[in-house]
Symmetry: C2
Subunit: 369 residues, 2 copies
Amino acid sequence: MGSHFSYTCQARCCVTKARAGVFHTPHGVVETPRFMPVGTLANVKTVTPAQLRGTGAQMVLANTYHLHLQPGEDLVAEAGGLHRFMGWDGPMLTDSGGFQVFSLSEMRQISDEGVTFRSPRDGKIIQITPERSIQIQNALGADVIMAFDECPPHPATWDEVKRATDRTMRWLERCFVAHTRTDQALFPIVQGGVYPDLRQEAAEAIAQYEAFGYAIGGVSVGEPPELIEKIVQVTAPLLPEDKPRYLMGVGTHKEMVRAIAAGVDLFDCVIPTRLARHGAALVQGDRWNLKNNRFRRDFTPLDDTCPCYTCQNFTRAYISHLLHAREILAFTLISIHNITELVRFTQRIREAILGDRFAVEFAEWLGHG
Amino acid sequence: MGSHFSYTCQARCCVTKARAGVFHTPHGVVETPRFMPVGTLANVKTVTPAQLRGTGAQMVLANTYHLHLQPGEDLVAEAGGLHRFMGWDGPMLTDSGGFQVFSLSEMRQISDEGVTFRSPRDGKIIQITPERSIQIQNALGADVIMAFDECPPHPATWDEVKRATDRTMRWLERCFVAHTRTDQALFPIVQGGVYPDLRQEAAEAIAQYEAFGYAIGGVSVGEPPELIEKIVQVTAPLLPEDKPRYLMGVGTHKEMVRAIAAGVDLFDCVIPTRLARHGAALVQGDRWNLKNNRFRRDFTPLDDTCPCYTCQNFTRAYISHLLHAREILAFTLISIHNITELVRFTQRIREAILGDRFAVEFAEWLGHG
């Protein structure tokens, strides 16, 4: 493998396992810890790349499963890859499609070979194997690509999760063999459900692979927040110290701050844009329904400490008006703010770690306060 | 009245009646001829003010009828007026609500006093009189406000149009009496349907009023394009030479270029954003359905001569993908291009007039070619 990727740890918290670092990719750096917005179908819903840049986002996700179904990875490759197709020249990451195959598709059949399912788009039978997932991700061309994993639902028995975790390990070997591009970093994923022993086994097994980063998957699939936290606390420290650690699908303030305290660096979640489309703003950790009557004549910004385009130019009353009038622009304005809020939250944590004030400054969030 | 408004003619075409000028308003200049995008409910649908600025738009419209129903002019006034409410610091114009009352509302009753109708929002009975329309527009605070007029449908008999035109003239007197703000310019509107004698009578009558600009209304209400053109050719030259002339609701390339040749300076139309929401792009005067299969793998910009954000950053294939995936971002990207296209078309005409090349350069559009 080439030297397109590297991770430098800049500071460690002296109380928790939190760290601040820089992850270098062919399309620029990601300063960690950092929240990553999700652009499922090669766009972050209702937000242009120029607006996205303004939120402070550095790395952006796209979903392999969705893009395989539509418009297809061949078309994206023909366009020059995901970056050029969607006009985002910063770092990008694609997931493996595993999570969506398991959570969204019908008529699913799993074997050691891979997963067969019916396309929700046109009913065609599709098979995704570890090799196929990597092939698709090679064609899409994101900087970071993910191993194809079996993501068991919650609840699942120890035996069921053990089987899925073992299969994920066998698939990982095939992913590394299939992966051909040196300008893409393949991240293995720790599975293991809610079982600490399985998480530990999986974490130790994937740590054997020389990779540029490692992920914790299979959380946020329906289990209670305390369990997520416990799993992360067990798993994160077992992953190599000198590489970035990515907690998949997690993105609330509380979950992020606690995962960072366990040593996690990267996060993604659809909530900032999904909440926006429901008229909800994230304001300093709270969720506000902007359709609420109390905002009708509130001529202050969503958050007067926020530097985003929305908070610098518009009032709660205006956004409330747009929502009541069913104007789509509301979704754009709230999405810009919500993404900025989550990115900024992780930036503030990063600054605190760099100044060794993290455990004190975020004591309340960490539950030590 | 104060000196907040002025119009300077910079050049006249030596073949047609076209002219290039500058209209000064309290929120900046409008270089004419110029297309004005429509922001019905205090936003140009799916486009932020920053994006709108990038299209080259100078003056933006909003609709009195819609804003009166929602969120109400009191709320907008409390927000500091339309400019501050929607974050647009350039020139703005509100229509009088007349056109919408006549075209959209139910249970309409017209008398000399005004118009009574049922609110489509909550069923309440609402009366709009000339005084009320001006009061609402004074509260909204746009730079240019419009007289409250009776807009007869098409077809309508000479007698029906005569009655509406006479009433519009009586209402105009009341509008001027009701108008209180010197930082807003009240434009009278010529009605008269498709009848040249009534148009002439009305144009001469409103020209008696000392105003900062004059409008031609009641076109584009269902009559054939040839009739619109004929009416504009009869009416425009009768309006004062030293003031801007605004043709309401018109905005196709052909209609604009021909109206400019008759001496019109300002235009508005919802087509750029409405077409965008139907997946249609305006490209050099044509309309393209971007959902069409031929764009699926077309990796060129919508228009490679276009300087807009969309054409500089995205391909037809990408926009087609967004439309097929039902991604709202498509509407934003197409709207940005479509508005730019119409503004740029009028800018090109303006440059041609300033260089006295208009009749030659636009001969094909004018039908002389």
